[in-house]
């Protein structure tokens, strides 16, 4: 089957598969109704997507001003004085970076261990279902679990500690740690997929040259799996940038970045802040700010980020497919 569809190297590209054109006039009515429903569903899907993007674009262009991007948010009753959303943009970037930096090594290590070692097998199976469970856990549950966990005094170095010794538990560190759990299954999944698609004889060739298993992983397998890892990471970054529940609960969702401690850099990470998602939430009628224009503008920026990430995923997964091992 497959052999016919893969062109031999150097051979001319096969003619595109042609479909026999079939008139639907001879179909039974039930079949024609089914076909019509399919068309309706497909067109509705397009309409929803274009409606959504067009609406957000119109609102975004209408309300987005350059100074919104460069001024810090302030709390004021007068909407013209509440500033822009510089801090939430920085917050989104910091949180995405922290989450990705934690999820990437953990996800890749887990995937490598599952595909290359997986001993003892009961542990491997347990880890696999564990990752699956993380993927199925609602982010709101992760958020309040994180709050419970990081309010323990053992983790006081990660966040702000109040006078009485109560650990606040909310910071970029703690939110990033929980965000990494959201990205983890995606990184894990695509890394494993990439590793599994590398045929066994590639590993054997490497062993035959006297490389150890560890060296094979580092020099042969991981570089080959890089496009897969990158795709998974980009997917994970999209999920982190788009998640709201964890930000609202674990980042404090304060208007401005508030640092804790004196060490520059570290203090920001230990402090609280907000991201674009929580800014949109707080400025929607459901939140405290209630400034729909700003919510629209921020949502438009967020949508652009997501579209850019989507585009990156397309490039990553299409451009350089894994090398063909056969032939």
């Amino acid at each position: 089957m497959e052999a016919h569809t893969t062109p031999l190297p150097g051979a001319a590209a096969p003619a595109p598969r042609t479909r026999a054109v079939e008139s639907t006039a001879t179909w039974r009515r039930r079949d024609r109704i089914g076909l019509a429903l399919c068309w309706a569903a497909g067109i509705l899907l397009c309409l929803i997507a274009f409606g959504l993007v067009a609406y957000m674009a119109v609102r975004g262009v209408q309300y987005l001003k350059l100074d919104l991007l460069t001024t810090r948010p302030l709390s004021d009753l007068d909407q013209s004085k509440t500033g822009g959303f510089l801090d939430p943009i920085i917050g989104t970037v910091i949180l995405t970076v922290v989450g990705t930096l934690l999820a990437l090594p953990l996800g890749v290590a887990t995937a490598v261990w599952i595909t290359e070692y997986a001993r003892p097998s009961w542990l491997a199976r347990a880890v696999e279902s564990g990752v699956e469970m993380v993927a199925g856990t609602p982010s709101i549950v992760l958020a309040i679990f994180g709050l419970l966990l990081f309010s323990e005094s053992v983790f006081s170095f990660l966040s702000f500690t109040a006078q009485g010794g109560a650990v606040f538990g909310r910071s970029f560190f703690t939110a990033g740690a929980m965000m990494s759990l959201i990205a983890l299954p995606l990184v894990f999944g695509s890394t494993r997929e990439a590793l599994q698609s590398i045929p066994g004889h590639v590993r054997e060739a490497s062993y035959a040259l006297g490389k150890t298993k560890a060296a094979t992983i580092r020099r042969v397998l991981l570089p080959t799996a890089r496009p897969g890892i990158a795709t998974g990471t980009a997917l994970g970054m999209g999920r982190i940038a788009g998640d709201t529940a964890i930000v609202v609960i674990l980042l404090g969702a304060t208007l401005q970045l508030q640092s804790a401690g004196d060490t520059p850099g570290l203090s920001t990470l230990k402090g609280t802040g907000s991201t674009l998602t929580s800014y949109v939430y707080n400025n929607s009628p459901a939140g405290e700010g209630n400034a729909p224009e700003k919510a629209y503008a921020a949502a438009f920026v967020l949508l652009l980020i997501v579209i850019a990430l989507n585009f990156a995923i397309d490039l990553l997964s299409n451009k350089r497919k894994a090398p063909t091992w056969s032939g």
């Binding site: 179909w27 542990l123 199925g136 679990f145 419970l148 966990l149 529940a245 929607s284």
Partner: protein, 319 residues
């Protein structure tokens, strides 16, 4: 020598994930236990106004012996179930039809547009869907669709503002459908070509081929898609807290069409709305009890998703 160490290191990192999930289940359940223990099975039953009960719990006396725990969470559970089931049922039908369209009937140019569109819709953050819901759909329904009589007919129990079950289900459907479409498209594509070609050779028309052969072969993947979408819908908190009305009310199907316009509030949205009170001990324990219910439901879902994938492996089809 280093080889052995690498294996141990990687294995340890992998076990961290496992430890985290086990820790999460234990942590959440220990924290939630007092709420379940004090209410027994009645926790899940109806009785009284759940919002008033939550306020009572929040205001319970400082003395641990006098903590108030009384809670009848039925309206919240009912709200979760009805929004989830509504969205998954509508979404699954729609996703199946769209997937068939993309795989079989769409003209190549339209298909080239549709596939990125599906991926884009799947990636749009839920807060953007919520924003559109609360700023566009809710005012539209509140001002134009709900009649004054409908508002009056239920005014003694609940106010109709437009934030309603209808908006919640519609937006939730738009959110979860793309995930299902992506999975079903993959599954329909991986049905062995010889099966469908065999049917075509017998003179069966294209619709019958895809409906009786491909869709049937992809049934496990369709179930898996529904399971994944259900998990997403169950856990959606922010969007639902924005558009569902945030009233602990169980919409009553006996109200006829008005039923669709009645507000509700699922479990996940309840957690977000009440996160401020987590530091009040009995209240926090009640909130963690909601989380525990969500956690158990998602564990059960993962389990059924795993079970649904098993028959696929027999055909060598990957979901």
């Amino acid at each position: 020598m280093t080889d052995r160490r690498v294996e141990l290191l990687l294995g340890a990192l992998a076990s961290v994930v496992l430890l985290l999930i086990v820790g999460m289940v234990i942590f959440v359940f220990t924290k939630a236990w007092p709420s379940f223990a004090n209410n027994g099975l009645k926790w899940f039953g109806p009785g009284g106004n759940v919002d008033d009960q939550l306020i009572d719990i929040f205001n319970s006396p400082a003395n641990p012996a006098n903590y108030v725990y009384k809670l009848r969470a039925y309206p919240l559970i009912y709200g979760t179930a009805i929004t989830t089931i509504g969205a998954v049922v509508i979404g699954l039908t729609f996703a199946l039809l769209s997937a068939i369209f993309i795989v079989e009937f769409a003209p190549p140019r339209l298909r080239a547009v549709l596939e990125p569109v599906v991926r884009l819709l799947a990636a749009v953050p839920s807060v953007i869907y919520g924003l559109i819901g609360i700023l566009v759909l809710v005012p539209f329904i509140g001002n134009d669709l709900i009649t004054a009589e409908q508002k009056k007919s239920v005014a003694f129990v609940v106010q109709l503002s437009g934030s309603s079950l209808l908006v919640a289900v519609v937006i939730l459907t738009v959110m979860i459908t793309p995930i299902m479409i992506a999975i079903i498209v993959d599954a329909l594509r991986s049905v062995p070509r010889s099966w469908t070609e065999g049917a075509s050779a017998l003179g069966v028309n294209r619709w019958r081929v895809i409906w009786t052969i491909s869709v049937r072969a992809a049934r496990p993947a369709i179930i898996a898609a529904a399971v994944l979408a259900t998990a997403r819908a169950l856990g959606e908190a922010i969007m639902l807290s924005m558009v569902s009305g945030s009233v602990g009310f169980a919409p009553n199907p006996l109200d006829g069409l008005t039923f669709l316009f009645e507000p509700t509030r699922p479990l996940a949205a309840t957690i977000v709305d009440n996160a401020e009170g987590l530091s009040v001990k009995p209240f926090g324990q009640t909130i963690y009890a909601f989380a525990a219910v969500l956690l158990v439901s998602s564990l059960l879902l993962s389990l059924s998703g795993w079970a649904a994938k098993q028959p696929l492996k027999r055909y060598g089809v990957r979901a």
